[in-house]
């Protein structure tokens, strides 16, 4: 029987010829990662194994990105415990502030995550790496601790759902964020619960790697175990200059079995805005027209990559952020930041009246660097708009891609980019 790309990767890492959905397997890990919130808890759990050394210091990534540069003493203590563990265990993939970036932007950029890998991360957006054709899934700190100790994790092989995007006739400004919000809007926040979301079709083939990362990043917002896109020439071009170890390319068999198949026409997908308080409340930007906002955030592991900044800058060039709006722009990594500087994007942001921050997850999860007060409303390129996500429990978050976010920052209310450009 044919297998999906997800099934093939899992079978290979379990030393099996074949796996079927529902099967419980133990898989060998290529990478286990954690951040400054989940890492310290995993370190405490790892101590319970009474082991001197982690399984393999070259296959672990510890990324202090959530509350860094540290916002208070308590978070500084968390970072300290991560730092000391990394030093003590000689963890290869640890970056100090000044070199670190947002984990799911940084690790692919540095070639740490590669096609065909099995990756667990104590961060729900670990599913981002599926854009490389890897099996990557979020876990908690205890699962991560077990991974640090054993180099293995147990998995229930997920059923796969296939999402085919037909055509390449994109509406103006539409990108990966709109495709994934549209999809979540169709299936709901538990529409892919426990399942793999496989994205395919001409529409996906047309997208850059940055856009593909955005799509797989939000598979978790439909409840999925992983999101995945089979590698093609664009994937190979991306990893070729980065990979420091061998990797393997997998493709789904033509006769692979899918629990469900969805087909969407690219030309039917308008710019999306997800209303509070769930990502499934996705509507066209026209339906959000005129909603007044107080803050705009452009960044995060979802939309903090170079192309996102280029799109935002294209709209903001020569314009001013509305006087009642705080616009916060956060490049995902130091390399993205530097490239944005070289291209003059940072000048455009600052001239427009934006805050430009060092890479951090900060405001996305209501950590710091842009917390909302009671009754305030943000439009954000991040991934979640849950109650209290960005601050006060009575604040609100709307989600969009970078074009709508930048245009709305100029207008002071949610608008279609054509009203500004």
């Amino acid at each position: 029987m044919g297998m999906t790309i997800t099934e093939k990767i899992l079978a290979d890492h379990a030393g099996l010829k074949e796996v079927v959905p529902g099967q419980l397997i133990t898989g060998k890990l290529d990478l286990a990662l954690a951040n400054d919130i989940t890492g310290p808890v995993a370190i405490q759990e790892f101590a319970k194994f009474n082991m001197d050394k982690v399984w393999d210091p070259s296959k672990i990534a510890l990324v202090p990105d959530h509350f860094t540069p540290n916002k208070d003493i308590a978070s500084a203590e968390l970072s300290k415990s991560l730092r000391l563990f990394a030093r003590d265990q000689k963890i290869v993939h640890y970056w100090e502030q000044g070199r670190v970036g947002i984990e799911h932007c940084l690790l692919p950029e540095q070639g740490v995550t590669l096609p065909g890998d099995v990756i667990i991360g104590a961060d729900s957006h670990t599913c981002t790496y599926g854009a490389l054709g890897a099996f990557a899934t979020g876990v908690g700190s205890t699962d991560l601790a077990a991974g640090l100790a054993t180099g293995e994790a147990w998995f229930r092989v997920p059923e796969s759902m296939k999402f085919v995007f037909k055509g390449q006739n994109f509406q103006p400004w539409v990108g990966g964020k709109d495709l994934i919000l549209y999809t979540i809007g169709k299936i709901g926040v538990d529409g892919a619960r426990y399942r793999a979301m496989e994205f395919a079709g001409e529409g996906i083939e047309a997208l850059s790697m940055d856009n593909r990362f955005t799509i797989c990043n939000m598979a978790i917002e439909a409840g999925a175990k992983n999101g995945i896109i089979a590698p093609d020439d664009k994937t190979l071009a991306y990893v070729k200059e980065r990979a420091e170890r061998p990797f393997k390319i997998y493709q789904s068999d033509p006769n692979a079995q899918y629990a469900e198949l969805y087909e969407f026409n690219i030309e039917d997908i308008p710019l999306q805005v997800a209303f509070p308080h769930l990502p499934e409340n996705a509507k066209s930007v026209e339906e959000a027209h005129g909603i007044r906002i107080d803050q705009v955030v452009i960044g995060s592991c979802t939309n903090g990559r170079l192309e996102d900044l280029r799109i935002a800058a294209e709209i903001l060039r020569g314009k001013s952020v509305h006087r009642d709006i705080r616009l916060i722009v956060i490049p995902g990594t130091q390399n993205i930041y530097k490239q944005a500087m070289k291209e003059g994007l940072i000048d455009i942001f600052i001239d427009a009246g934006a805050v430009v921050s060092t890479p951090t997850c900060g405001p996305c999860l209501g950590g710091y660097m842009g917390i909302l007060a009671k009754g305030e409303r943000a439009l954000s390129t991040t991934n979640r708009n849950f109650v209290g996500r960005m601050g006060h429990p009575e604040s609100e978050v709307y989600l969009s891609g970078p074009a709508v976010a930048a245009a709305s920052a100029v207008k002071g209310e949610i608008v279609h980019p054509q009203e500004v450009a």
């Binding site: 419980l24 919130i37 989940t38 310290p40 808890v41 405490q44 759990e45 319970k48 194994f49 959530h66 509350f67 916002k71 208070d72 308590a74 978070s75 968390l78 991360g121 104590a122 961060d123 729900s124 670990t126 979020g138 876990v139 908690g140 700190s141 205890t142 699962d143 601790a145 077990a146 100790a149 054993t150 147990w154 926040v189 538990d190 619960r193 426990y194 978790i220 409840g223 175990k225 769930l278 999860l365 209501g366 950590g367 979640r384 849950f386 109650v387 209290g388 996500r389 429990p393």
Partner: protein
């Protein structure tokens, strides 16, 4: 008496324990802010042995293990829901927070009802209304994990037996 606390569908980990409290890992600290953004009275009023009842997709969102830890540390005996988000499901088993999947119970228990739960058999009794429900049994592997007291004791036990 085990009092039921009822919450709706898609209860996310951000409301179970908001990120502004994730700068500390002490269980007491997490318990003190459990469910704060949906019910500010919960953390103070919840009693040891109480039960949380949720709708579909309970625990969606972030992978923070702090969420089941906060619920467990607040003294909650078990979470009953129509369905659970997968990372929360895994985390709960791993840290030893009992969870039961049962649509009928999730719909048939009202806030404040007195609920009695047999974790071994998955039988749920609504004492107040005199109704009885049967939760879906866990697959054998998860039962072993639960019996061992979580993932780490399970792995250590397996190593010792190898």
């Amino acid at each position: 008496m085990s009092k039921a606390w009822r919450f709706g569908d898609d209860v996310d980990t951000d409301v179970i324990i908001p990120a502004r409290y994730l700068n500390k890992t002490s269980h007491k600290h997490l318990a003190a802010h459990c469910m704060e953004d949906v019910d500010a009275s919960f953390a103070e009023a919840v009693q040891v042995g109480d039960v949380i009842v949720g709708g579909k997709n309970f625990g969606c969102g972030s992978s923070r293990e702090h969420a089941p830890l906060a619920i467990k540390s607040a003294g909650v005996q078990v979470v009953i829901a129509e369905s659970f988000a997968r990372i929360f499901y895994r985390n709960s088993l791993n840290i030893g927070l009992p969870i039961l999947e049962c649509s009928e119970a999730a719909r048939g228990i009202q806030a404040g009802d007195d609920v009695s739960v047999n974790l071994e058999t998955g039988e749920i009794l609504n004492v107040t209304q005199g109704t009885r429900f049967q939760a879906r049994p866990f697959p054998p592997f998860m039962q072993e994990l639960i019996k061992a007291g979580g993932l780490i004791p399970y792995i250590k036990g397996r190593k010792n037996n190898a």
